[in-house]
């Protein structure tokens, strides 16, 4: 995603990342969250990203990549270090079968119950935050007619 020079290509790479993330959720038996991940992020948010990118000039943002000195060798060293770290963890923990989840885990019913039972306060706070965001957007876009 961050290696592309065209913004649209980066956005599509981001789409790939989101879908892969949904796949990870599926591996964790969280079907409902996986589908929501795609509906909300890929279906709404990223489309708006693309919308903005396309409304700007088609080639905006290209060629403005600043290159650091020693970027390439540093990148190789750092990614090798990351690979070493991850493989060390893997070798230490060993591979084992994923635990079988409790019946009904990850279904829409369970997610809903947890959300409105255990996490009702954070849920409501988040909704107030979103409302504030919407109001802010409306106020900002209405500015001229008031002053």
């Amino acid at each position: 995603m961050i290696t592309r020079s065209k913004p649209v290509h980066s956005a599509i790479a981001f789409l790939g990342t989101l879908v892969s993330l949904a796949g990870l959720f599926l591996l964790l038996y969280a079907q409902f969250v996986a589908i929501l991940q795609i509906v909300i992020y890929a279906g709404a948010i990223l489309v708006l990203f693309l919308f903005v990118i396309m409304l700007l000039h088609a080639r905006s943002g290209e060629g403005s990549v600043e290159k650091l000195r020693l970027q390439r060798p540093l990148a190789i060293v750092l990614s090798l270090a990351l690979l070493a770290g991850v493989s060390f963890l893997f070798l230490q923990a060993g591979l084992s079968e994923a635990p079988t989840p409790a019946a009904g885990m990850g279904t829409a019913e369970e997610v809903g119950k947890t959300l409105f039972d255990h996490f009702i306060l954070p849920f409501e706070v988040a909704s107030v935050l979103l409302l504030a965001g919407i109001l802010g957007a409306v106020v900002l876009s209405k500015k001229e007619s008031w002053s």
Binding site: Q31, A42, M54
Partner: protein, 350 residues
């Protein structure tokens, strides 16, 4: 259920059958649409190739297959190739969760008349169709041309706006059924009222008909069909997002469009008209497939009829309709449905 490889093999065969059926349906829908629209306009339509012009789709296919495969200058090569494929693949994928027959029909414990039954049923269709939108956006953008870009922008704005209304409408149906899974939604509708009237969701007065109407308008807009076909309005945009496409890549977009129409019809049938429910399905389960196909066909006919009848709306009218009418009505409908389900819990499955 049998061993894993049996399940996988059966699923693969089911998918293959559905894909072939959808492709055939696509081919003959192009023929049907041309013939019917001609009828509506007091013309004759394609009737030269084979009896009643029935071989016309074959001729069209051969023609498209032998067309030159070109690349517009300045196009984004990779995305130009990916876009039609993305549109077509997602169109087929959305059909995977639709039950086209009773779940009793099984082979080694695997239901034969539905490909997959995820817990988030309806949401799966929404998710996949939202990915399909990228095919249109990228196709329009990568062509490096004005009209396709405008078509793609219109299409994405339209689909995001109407997805909201459709999503809210679906929530009231989900409330009525108490489940997200499509087979269970159909199963509930097989019951009857007063012993003879089918308990289809469309007959749940007053919320059923309103929800259906909202869904129908939203689905027409989401499949880019007339009178909401602004992304490809010929008079303004030449052809819209696929102006710069030709040959098989154009055909892929075309397939996606018609398959999406079939899927939208199938979802309408499943949610509001009892899916495969019909007389004598209890005795002969396979009859359900026929009922399902008949109902979907009725919807496809309706969409073609709509196209031949209504003029295209203006773009600001389209947006007004979506945001100022569809969304508030969907919220109102949701509130009424919630109240009804609270008062008569027996109506909802939950």
């Amino acid at each position: 259920m049998g061993p894993l490889w049996v399940v996988l093999a059966i699923t693969a065969v089911k998918s293959l059958v559905v894909i072939v059926a959808l492709l055939t349906a696509f081919a003959y829908m192009t023929w049907l649409e041309r013939r019917l629209v001609s009828r509506f306009q007091v013309r004759i339509g394609p009737n030269r190739v084979g009896p009643f012009g029935l071989l016309q789709p074959v001729a069209d296919g051969i023609k498209l297959f032998f067309k030159e495969d070109f690349m517009p200058s300045g196009a984004d090569r990779a995305l130009y190739f990916i876009a039609p494929g993305l549109a077509m693949v997602t169109a087929f994928t959305a059909f995977a969760v639709i039950p086209f027959g009773p779940p009793e029909v099984k082979l080694w414990g695997v239901p034969l008349l539905q490909i997959a039954n995820p817990n988030a049923g309806i949401l799966f269709i929404l998710a996949v169709s939202s990915i399909g939108l990228y095919g249109i956006i990228l196709g329009g953008w990568s062509s490096n041309s004005k009209y396709p870009l405008l078509g793609a922008l219109r299409s994405s704005a339209q689909m995001i706006s109407y997805e909201l209304g459709v999503g809210l409408t679906l929530v009231s149906v989900i409330l009525l059924s108490g489940t997200l899974q499509l087979p269970q939604i159909v199963e509930q509708q097989t019951l009857t009222w007063f012993g003879f009237l089918p308990r289809w969701n469309i007959f749940v007065i007053p919320v059923g008909p309103l929800a259906f109407l909202l869904f129908l308008i939203g689905a027409t807009a989401e499949t880019n069909r007339a009178p909401f076909d602004l992304p490809e309005s010929e008079q303004e945009l030449t052809a819209g997002y696929h102006t710069e496409y030709g040959g098989m890549k154009f055909a892929a977009f075309f397939v996606a469009e018609y398959v999406n129409l079939v899927t939208a019809s199938a979802v309408a049938v499943t949610l509001f008209f009892g899916g495969w429910d019909g007389p004598f399905v209890d005795q002969v389960p396979l009859l359900g497939v026929l009922w399902f196909i008949a109902k979907v066909f009725a919807f496809v006919f309706f969409f073609i009829w709509l196209r031949a009848t209504l003029p295209r709306v203006r773009y600001d009218q389209l947006m007004d309709l979506g945001w100022k009418l569809l969304v508030p009505l969907a919220i109102l409908n949701l509130a009424i449905t919630s109240a009804i389900v609270l008062i008569w819990p027996s109506l909802g499955g939950g």
